[in-house]
């Protein structure tokens, strides 16, 4: 089943700026998809359509087989959670627990249900002991996890994240990434992650969608996308560092054949070991 499907989606802002045009994008349920694109490619505009924050000027958006209209916005927003790039934009309540409770309260749930969901979200995102802290006193990583918890408490089926790993130090960044993987694997959530961190993408994404100037350039599994290095470079993106290394090894030093380049450190390690093995 398709989690999200757009059909000829276009959006033009009232001032005449055409942000995205004729987008046909789709994600299978339970998949983990990365939307890659340079600055100003229309990533945010596209993501805001999935949650009904923006309505298409033409074309349509289907969420879990249901078309997004003004009438079913409440339902759509419960099913599709949106995590903003700057956690300070999202955490507006005076304590973490209250902020997590904001979504469930809007769903008009009972008090007991709200409390249970808040506790669950706090547990999943490992925020125990910070419930009553003010968001302004949290660290960057804690803020990020708190904003994910706020969306999680609405029990969505799809979570959209706008640059979730930006402005974080490497360790915190990998912790957030682990949390996202866990959400995807254990809870079966569909994740749509907008980013321009090319190195991280092969680590988590089942599929990659390249967006440029409001158009989808290509969509497919990481292996397929990263085999087209020239195309990526033409839209101001690049290969992952490790892939780039193997490309150089191939082209400059002709060390290996026309095999698929490795995308992650793990794959690269395996291949190097193999090469050493063969030399012997």
């Amino acid at each position: 089943m398709k989690a999200i499907e757009t059909i000829n989606l276009s959006h033009t802002y009232p001032d005449g700026t055409k942000a995205i045009g004729n987008i046909n994008f789709n994600v299978e349920k339970g998949k983990n998809i990365a939307i890659l694109g340079p600055n100003g490619a229309g990533k945010s505009t596209l993501l805001h359509h999935f949650n009904g924050l923006l309505m298409p000027t033409s074309g349509k958006v289907n969420v879990l087989g249901q078309e997004v209209t003004k009438q079913n916005l409440d339902e759509i927003r419960q099913k599709v959670g949106l995590v903003f790039q700057d956690p300070d934009d999202q955490l507006f309540a005076r304590s973490v627990a209250l902020d997590i409770a904001f979504g469930p309260t809007n769903l008009k749930l009972s008090k007991a249900e709200i409390a249970q969901r808040v506790n669950w979200a706090i547990e999943v995102t490992d925020l125990k002991g910070l419930e009553n802290k003010s968001p302004s006193n949290l660290s960057g990583g804690q803020k990020r996890r708190a904003s994910i918890a706020g969306v999680l408490a609405m029990k969505p089926e799809i979570i959209i994240l706008d640059e979730p790993m930006s402005n974080l130090d490497p360790k915190t960044s990998s912790k957030v990434l682990k949390l996202l993987m866990q959400l995807n694997k254990e809870l079966g959530l569909t994740l749509i992650i907008a980013t321009h961190d090319v190195d991280l993408v092969p680590l988590f994404a089942d599929e990659i969608c390249i967006l440029n100037k409001g158009q989808i350039l290509m969509q497919g599994p990481p292996q397929e996308i990263f085999s087209q290095a020239e195309l990526l470079r033409s839209v101001d993106l690049r290969l992952p560092r490790i892939t780039h290394l193997f490309e150089i090894l191939n082209k400059e030093d002709s060390l290996r054949g026309d095999k698929q380049y490795p995308l992650t450190i793990g794959e690269a390690r395996r291949e190097i070991l193999e090469m050493l093995e063969n030399k012997k």
Partner: protein, 334 residues
Amino acid sequence: MHIADGILTWQWSIAWYIVALFFVAIGARKIAQTRKANPAYMSILALMGAAVFVISVWHIPVAFAGTSSHPNGTALAAIIIGPLATAAITSIVLFFQAFLGHGGITSLGANLISLGVVGGFVGISIYMLLKKLGASVWLAAGVAGFVGDLSTYACTALQLAVSLNPTSIGQHWEIYMLGYLPTQIPLAILEFAFTAAAVQYIQVHRPEILTWWRGIPAIAGAPTVSSKPSEPKLSNPKRHRIDRFTKYVLITMTLMVAIMLVSTYVGVNVFGGKMGGTDSSVASGGFSFLTHYTMVDEYVVFTIGGAAGGLVVGYLLPSVFGQLSKRKEEKQTV
């Protein structure tokens, strides 16, 4: 200028509270209505309120007074979020400030009237009026800040006089105004420069922020629309514009009248007036310099004299300046 707790009598504190509650209630009602139409309104209001609060507790060194002071920001707030919302926001700001040692709890009502209501409404009216007259945005905003600040301070002085010296309100009003003059004049100038520069910046970069509160989009989620920076709009050619000369003459005139009024106040009423508040034989305040010219004839003569002088000079000026500009043109062509 914030009145602290304990200065006003408790009867007047409560009276001002009642008046203030009326305005806050209207403001709150308006916010609630707008919130229904557009849920995102709350965030804009709160963020702008927070920014105005931060500005209002920002100590800016004012070099020529040797001290630092902080802008009121109410005229600025009225320009960007509207006067009614300003009244509601000011009540919150004053509540916070009361706990920072500025103002107080019992005097909150009185402060709200002088700052939020008088300052805000006077500020926005001046701004609108000057813009209608064709003044540039920064000038309108600056004058709004200046006059808004002075009106706040006049209102505060009146509140003090009414509460503390009910037997000679007019006279004490002037005395209080003079007492705070050394701190308030630099503040008013600061307010002028600050409001003018801030509004000018917004006008250049994001002009829609100055007008959004007058036409808030009524569709859920629509505000994202305005997050796209729009092109600065060209001025409407139909709007009546006055030329630079008239503008400067108007400014000069206002300034001169202001200086004359202030000096008359200082000269006549401070040194000559009797300070005893309880002495009812002293006529209460006002511009008593008018008593120097009680004869109507004198007014008429002066008015006609002024009008004739203005007419003659005004008539001669363009020809003189015209010749000058012609000469310039000739020089350029040569």
